[in-house]
Symmetry: C2
Subunit: 130 residues, 2 copies
Amino acid sequence: MSAPAHRPAGRHLLADFYGVADGVLKNAAFLEKLLTESAVKAGAHVLFSHFHAFGEEGGVTGVVLLAESHISIHTWPEEGFAAVDAFMCGEAQPEKALDAMRGALHPERCEVRLMARGEAGILSLAASGS
Amino acid sequence: MSAPAHRPAGRHLLADFYGVADGVLKNAAFLEKLLTESAVKAGAHVLFSHFHAFGEEGGVTGVVLLAESHISIHTWPEEGFAAVDAFMCGEAQPEKALDAMRGALHPERCEVRLMARGEAGILSLAASGS
């Protein structure tokens, strides 16, 4: 595909979801569809996805590669836990992908950290005076 | 494969590499081999990898999925920039993967941030009194 060119600057969201129902955290097909749709809602362009299920009672690990970087998820159904990250450069909005995932997975609690990457990281370091 | 079971706690390294030679940043096969070998050096178990090259003069985006989570890279050869992340739970050591990548890519400058994920994140929040 002809991928859009993006500056080497982006936003990287790390989200830890606690208290998620175990059924969805074991369902690789559901999670692949969810992350792919979440990427599109963020305005990103999907290149490829791959999801791996660790057996019937195990979790899922999966990634959607984007023209704008990636979204990944790793789940621990026995703990109701999922670790998500959404890294996007250019005009894509990783917050929208996270909102879509949170809306579908209904975590009881969610811890989100936003990290600036590349030039955005340099600019934020300069702004904070460090 | 029979993947080892890991607690939902891990370390997520985000590394921004500046001043990397453009040749290696365009070379998807080289980067796939490098990230796969780096994962093994970290003590992780590789499940799958996929690397995408954005045309002859473009960058590369790629991921190695691990039993312990993932390593990814996104490159901007025209800027000499690469955004790397290495997320590993259990006993694997993402620092070792990062050392291997840094040793092969020779960035002029490298900014690394270490984020605790899952239970480790909760513990570090408690330790910092927040």
